[in-house]
Amino acid sequence: MEFVRKGILVLLLGLLALLIPGTLIKSVNPALIVPNFLLILLVFLAFYRGEPGDAVLAFLLGLEQDLGSLNLLGPWAGAYIVVFGVLALLSRRIFIESRLVIFVTVYAATLAADFLYLGMLALVYEAEVVSSASLSTALWEGFLSALFAPLLFPLLRRWLVGDRREKQSRLSRGIAVRRDGGGLV
């Protein structure tokens, strides 16, 4: 029941993540590059939760992104699930609460998701979708997302990560938590 409640919360946050860039930010200037809030949410899920059920949530977040853009379902869902998988598996071994690590991880995850998405789009439409402009857009989007991530993670942790028992259960599975940002087990 708790998982369903948090799942619904994640999907609603996903819709909010679609709404903010599409209205608030782009109404100032549609040409602005916007951070990918959905991806920040995804990285958070992979790092702090990483359960198989969360993989389904990552997939649904990708579908939300797909539904918010072209008439094609799957490219974002595919890109997000791959990024989630890699991060969730990494978080089995490494779990670091450093802002710098969050920044670097979100930056790398955004670039990976963007190029996976463009790759899938190129595959489906058999069109040339990657250019030097795509690279610059991806780099800026990654940078902006990475800037926002350390600010949003504490909020997400409050809303989405359960009590100490959950953290304990992660620890019992061999995941170390260090608040100084330097450790791994």
């Binding site: 782009k26 198989p52 389904v56 799957g74 598996l89 857009t137 061999g174």
Partner: protein, 280 residues
């Protein structure tokens, strides 16, 4: 350790299955876009009230800023005059806005009459949340007569076409999107090609043979061959013609759209063509 291994295997398996599901969805919805359209219209309808609320709030705040904050220094001079002046300015600003809107709508209607077409005028209420797709959301949908694949225009030319439609909102793929391709003609030299979006509000004319006479400043119009856009609508102006590469079959032509997409507020959806006598 066994528990960690089991957990990792479970997560990997779930991720693998879901990735395959994503690929299958891609293939399925490419062939049957109606499924994706239905989902997109649900999401669009869910988000529409928030987008409309944001649009109205933004408009009010901008008016408030223009009417009161800009006049703050003047208002300090005289309290009595300040109240009177602010009220008049507010009224004046509103009237000016009405006047501008009137001119804009008159322009749109005149264009519609000249072309003998039926149009639905719509406001832009949202943009695509990602940086990769050039889509706008408008506040008119199926209950206003908007349908999928209808052309969307602005006073100065083609904006794009409707790709999904809910009851009260619709999503429009801009001509500058990478997945957009419009059959086009260069008005002066009559060279044929496809106007392909390049993202970031740019487009280029592709598949124009080397022999085709195209020069900077030429107007590019719709050819009417793609069954979406009627013939003769302005797409843009040739902004550059690339140097001819040795052995190249096609020319490299960049087109600057006639629309300033960053300032798009109102558009018109071309819902049908009427005989001229109906207009009279």
């Amino acid at each position: 350790m066994a528990a960690v291994y089991q957990h990792t295997t479970k997560t990997s398996l779930t991720v693998g299955v879901l990735f395959c599901a994503a690929l299958l969805l891609c293939a399925y919805t490419k062939e049957r876009p109606a499924v994706a359209r239905l989902g997109a219209s649900w999401v669009g309808e869910f988000l529409r009230p928030f987008q409309a609320l944001h649009g109205a709030t933004r408009h009010s705040l901008l008016s408030w800023w223009g009417d009161y904050i800009a006049l703050l220094e003047t208002q300090r001079e005289n309290v009595r005059l300040k109240t009177r002046l602010a009220a008049l300015e507010a009224q004046n600003s509103q009237l000016l806005e009405f006047k501008k809107e009137n001119v804009r709508i008159r322009g749109l209607l005149r264009m519609a009459e000249e072309a003998a077409v039926e149009v639905v005028v719509a406001n832009v209420i949202g943009y695509d949340p990602s940086n990769w797709v050039q889509v706008i959301t408008i506040d008119k949908g199926s209950r206003d007569g908007v349908r999928v694949e209808l052309p969307v225009l602005e006073r100065n030319g083609v904006v794009g076409h409707v790709i999904s439609c809910g009851a009260g909102s619709a999503r429009v793929l801009l001509l500058s999107d990478r997945t957009s391709g419009i059959d086009a003609i260069v008005q002066e030299g009559r060279a044929r090609g496809v106007l392909q979006g390049m993202g970031r509000f740019r487009a280029r004319l592709e598949y124009v043979l080397e022999g085709g006479q195209v020069k900077v400043g030429d107007r590019v119009i719709t050819s009417g061959m793609d069954n979406i856009f009627p013939k003769g609508l302005l797409l843009g102006v040739v902004s550059s013609v690339g140097p001819k590469a040795t052995g190249a079959l096609f020319q490299e032509i960049e087109v600057r759209s006639s629309i300033d997409f960053t300032k798009l507020e109102m558009v018109e959806v071309l819902v049908g063509v009427r005989p001229r006598e109906d207009l009279d």
